[in-house]
Symmetry: D2
């Protein structure tokens, strides 16, 4: 089905005018034009099944028709588009729905901040607030964390290549081992707790811990519920704020709306972005316990913190997908399906293992290069999926949560074939 | 026309659920619903003339019909919405139009980076790149600068209240006096050049200078063309990169597309955001000379750097408004009109002065509180406008560039009346 | 023999004029006048046996007669006193003797820097050099390290109370667990090596590791030779410089001249101070491998880096004590004696353990307060000794290396009695 | 009288064993052996008149006989040498004399801290205390300041070459123009006061200002009394602590004991070192107003903060030289003599100017290289003097205060001849 594509069709203005910093256009060298549900179509009409979902920003699929209808109506009716943090009807509807569908059913008492529309914005706001509340400057992050590319967010990100881009030493943060970093050799938090206890340890007392429950960029590393509970308990006992960065893993990616629900914990601060807007347009939230709401008016701001079209699609998405538990159940079932399929591959091929939760699943290759080859073959066969982890040795699956079983089967077959080709 | 609004209609969910950090909803205590051109309408049907324009993000007015049509068509046709930095048809059209309508006519040879969709994202990318290229860490900023709220952007922002929100010392930057900071007493760059020359001055050698040609948040402080030329010349002679932050003043706000055109300079790096997307939805660009394009693929990234609906409206806005010089000419004429009206107020009232360029104009009050009172009265009379400057003593006008003469006259009358009331 | 001392004899000018920062004058509330060998005498004629030795600065005892003779002769003969880093006869003699008695017999090829006369000076010089050579900024230090109180030295010191005194966040350093920090639960360097290996760990790649072989201030924590060898090996494999801070443990404190000799390693950089001058007057050295000598002339300096009276006593001390192995042998024998005595106490009393190497020995109390009580009782009975460790739970013994067996027995009896009193 | 010195007599162990960082031994390539008063003698018997005085550490001359007698007696009598911050008889005598001869006659109410024996130690202590007291981190320093080489002291030092040696960005400090930096063009403190006033200036609010009244290393830049008074007044009005670093200019170098007496100001914190010990052996003090004495016991410490031989010579020096005003008067007279002689040179030669106060005097050459040539010629003719300033264009004179008129005349003749040779 792959059409012949001579190299001269290369989209030259991207090469001549766009910065060398571009990356996805290199690994998926075609020009995309339209998209719908789990499918993208390029300008030559070739279709690609999407197991990537905008790096987690498209949990409800591309151009979801329910959201699309509301979005077009809002725009057609001249609903206000850009409003900074003025009160708007669209924002009120979103807040009411967020309270009713998300917070109240889960017994969560959070204030909501609109910190600017990106994941980095909400991480920056969370770090600022934690420092302001505690009067301390140091933050604990975890090995292989990814939290964003602005200076504050980058300082808690692990990737050495991305850190080096800062051009200044990134300080005020200390990495701790993520769950299972030592393959079970050392007890959880043995080191962290010891240096906190020991007034001679040299660790600056932290304002906060920032953690992802599943590290997507870091290689689909899944924190066990009991590890998360122990972390929350440790933070609580020590007066350290717990920030769960749910930018990628929230909005149902792992099954429940918040990824931390599986552990039964209640973080002090939660960051949301990516799929919160529903339609793939920029939006972000910072949630925190009411007693932490020490912001002065305007102390943090941003031009695009009131992107109303996103409020509209966000509201409809919550209404449509989070009024019952069907999406959660289906996400877990589909995750199980992937896991079952991946387990077969792991059994069949040496050096292949599987990991994940809900609809973030990873197929890890001991020989890291194999992961890249699998993704390359998958692309050639019409499937978008990318690698992750410090050595790019994990094929990471982030399909839309709304993918059908048939689509999922189709994509898994492509991966299974590619794995067989690469590993045989 | 103002409807009676009892205080009990207070939008309570904003108070109960949204963070205390909200600010515009306090100064303009109503709930906006729709908007068109230079007008907003609240849910009670009251209309407000907009001399604020989304803090400069709505140069083409609210829900501009030309852009709206293209936007709805794109969405209706399932054009790809979210694409990170994949190549897309919408992005190609934008790049082609940006090259043809903006760069080529001005003889500017810039590479284009999509750094994430906000002004802070492009400032962070610019600072990173300047540090990477030069291998130095220090940045020179100017008194009363505003560049954003993420940690890197905040470090070059002047406002002490916003800086304090960082919760850590903001370092690696040294402020220098903006144009006319000493009312002409000291020669331009006397201090800056002296400390650069003097190897014993204690100034860490800077990677870059970051400057706004007109400081909007800082109080509508206008840099003279000769000052900008002298700055560009100084940077060039010293091997320091010149970053012009055109997030607020670009896209025609001061007349020409880039605000630095008036000075005939060519900065090394230029940041754009706010109105570049055209419709008020998030988008940003970082432009730099080709020899500075030392980024490795993916060294800076961001989930929302490919917000295609904004590419569509951005492209149409460039096509429609920047194919000839009519918008530029009209902006300068309207700026002259405001200036003339403000000059009358300055003549009529003690302690009132005027400043600005194109359609960013300020009415400065020696008694800073008067500015706030004028804005309050204006709001009561259906006009949105805000104060700026370190003591909030300047009424700042940022009307849409597409405002009609009648609308402009109407708004100016409201301000004139308010000024008369406050200053008499 | 203890004379009656009414509280009114309190040395009031110390209270009224000297800063509250003073500490030893509080724990040993008397006014010392003269000293000789292992004894101090206060102005009332009361004598105190010294198991403290100027915190390790008096390895050859107070006013050692051999050194004293040379010192007086030098001063009487108008030998140059203060010379910065000019060449002097006294310095040449010291350098020649240091090469002949210290470096050559041990096969050590080090360049010698005079970095200023204190331990903090040599640590600061070592850190600067390591950063300059590697072009990296980050330093690895160890839990419960003590390296000094100037800003650079303090940043690698563990004690939270002392760190807080900096008044700014101390950054650019990451603590790692010292030997036996986990009581053998975790393999040596498991964590350190893992975060170095993992490009996603978030650890800034270090310029150097700084380590004490025995942590005196930290609680007499002794690093095993195999741990030190593994550390040196790890540093060598990773291109990280190894700095051994031998300010307190060098000059024979643990037996051999350098404390790292027991491990058979050759650090890249070694710091010496305290007893290197011999007579208790300020002097310090920084030693490093010749290929690291990238200093430009004057790039690091200091007014008192040429304190010639110390060069004189340092030279005589090396000549007199390090021409054969008698001091080393005697130090180890006396260490064994203390260890034997302490082991009896450890056997006799619950919660008491012993640790140490050579003539740095610790008696650790599970109930930390007991250590302070033992020292207090010892002082009342004419013995100076102090506590150390993060909870001050270790009685630390640093007697002069020249102490006689009788003096040692006398002091150990006082400690044994005090321990019996406190623990019974 | 100069003996023939073949180049082969080069002191080779300094070259082979000592680090490349050595500097004075390069510019004065001989090996010094003894010294007395204003004279040094090398091992070949050649004598050098000293217009350098240990960079200000030898105000009372080399091996001053009054101090020498007391020093030898103290050592011979086994006076305690090393005592950390225990109370000792020698320290009490010093404190009593310092109170009686220095503080009380000047009406100064200061607490005295012994911060470690070097200038850098006292600067580090001063900065720590200022930050602790104010809770702020930022420090204002001045162009061409020199305060020391440890990380804290280096951060407030101006010299770019020395700063670069830190290997990390030196932050938390902002340089301001020293007196006359603009040759009178700009009003004093115009810039400093403006950025303090302006909450949008981007200047982090400073804890303290640190200043030298005469910048020795910086090129003999003399602050006018009225400038110092204005600075003290500004600090007082703004709640910023004023630190006068009197390490080099204190102890009578400019005439009065403290260099700031000429301005009639009372700094909040004063640092002393160099000549405070009297005999050129390490000692330092930090003085501060009693209400600033918020140190906790041991919060700052250092092994050599109790160097009793220096207390002895310091006490005798105060007793002998500061019981009347003879030294002060003579210093001013000798300063006038140098100034008169230098003025003749300035009149005689183009591009030569003179500057100084008391016995720190500079002869500045527009052609910076000339200064080095003059010092070279002076050395050849038996006179030690060095250059200073950012381009090393100033011959700096720091003779012992005890120099005789004949010696002074002799040295000035050598300089006059050298200047004539170089400038003719």
């Amino acid at each position: 089905m792959t059409t012949f594509k001579p190299t001269t069709i290369e989209p030259t203005i991207f090469e001549s005018l766009e910065s060398e910093v571009r990356s996805y256009s290199r690994q998926w060298p075609t020009v995309f034009e339209t998209a719908k549900g789990a499918w993208l179509r390029d300008e030559d009409g070739k279709e690609y099944l999407d197991f990537f979902a905008g790096a987690g920003a498209l949990n409800y699929g591309h151009n979801n028709p329910v959201l699309k209808k509301a979005l077009i109506e809002y725009i057609a009716g001249d609903g206000i588009t850009h409003s900074l943090d003025m009160a708007t009807v669209a924002k009120r509807r979103f807040l009411e729905t967020f309270a009713m569908k998300v917070l109240e059913p889960r017994g969560l008492d959070y204030k909501v901040q609109f910190p600017g529309p990106t994941g980095a914005n909400t991480v920056e706001a969370a770090l600022k607030l934690a420092r302001k509340v505690t009067g301390r400057e140091s933050i604990i992050n975890f090995t292989n964390a990814f939290h964003g590319m602005t200076l504050g967010a980058l300082s808690v990100t692990g990737n050495a290549f991305k850190r080096a881009g800062a051009g200044i030493p990134l300080v005020h943060t200390t990495p701790m081992p993520f769950d299972n970093y030592f393959d079970g050799v050392m007890e959880d938090f043995h080191w962290f707790e010891r240096v906190l206890d020991d007034s001679g340890s040299g660790l600056n007392r932290p304002a906060a811990v920032i953690v992802e429950t599943v590290q997507g960029e870091g290689g689909v590393n899944v924190a066990r519920p009991e590890w998360l509970r122990a972390l929350a308990d440790l933070c609580s006992r020590r007066g350290i704020l717990l920030i769960v960065d749910d930018v990628q893993m929230g909005c149902g990616r792992t099954g429940p709306f918040f990824s931390f629900e599986v552990a039964g914990i209640e973080p002090d601060i939660v960051t949301l972005s990516k799929s919160i807007g529903g339609y793939g347009m920029p939006m972000a939230l910072t949630l925190f316990k009411p007693e932490l709401d020490v912001w002065a008016p305007g102390e943090h701001n941003g031009t695009f913190r009131g992107n109303n079209p996103s409020f509209v699609t966000a509201q409809v998405a919550l209404e449509h997908y989070w009024s019952d538990d069907r999406l959660e159940v289906s996400t877990l079932e589909k995750g199980d399906k992937i896991h079952a399929e991946f387990s077969k591959l792991a059994d069949a091929f040496d050096g292949v293992t599987t990991r994940g939760r809900g609809l973030v699943q990873g197929l890890a290759f001991e020989n890291a290069e194999s992961a890249g080859k699998v993704c390359q073959l998958a692309f050639d066969n019409g499937l978008l999926t990318e690698t992750s982890g410090p050595t790019d040795g994990v094929v990471k699956l982030l399909p839309p949560l709304t993918i059908t079983d048939e689509e999922l089967d189709h994509g898994l077959r492509i991966i299974a074939d590619a794995t067989a080709t690469v590993c045989s």
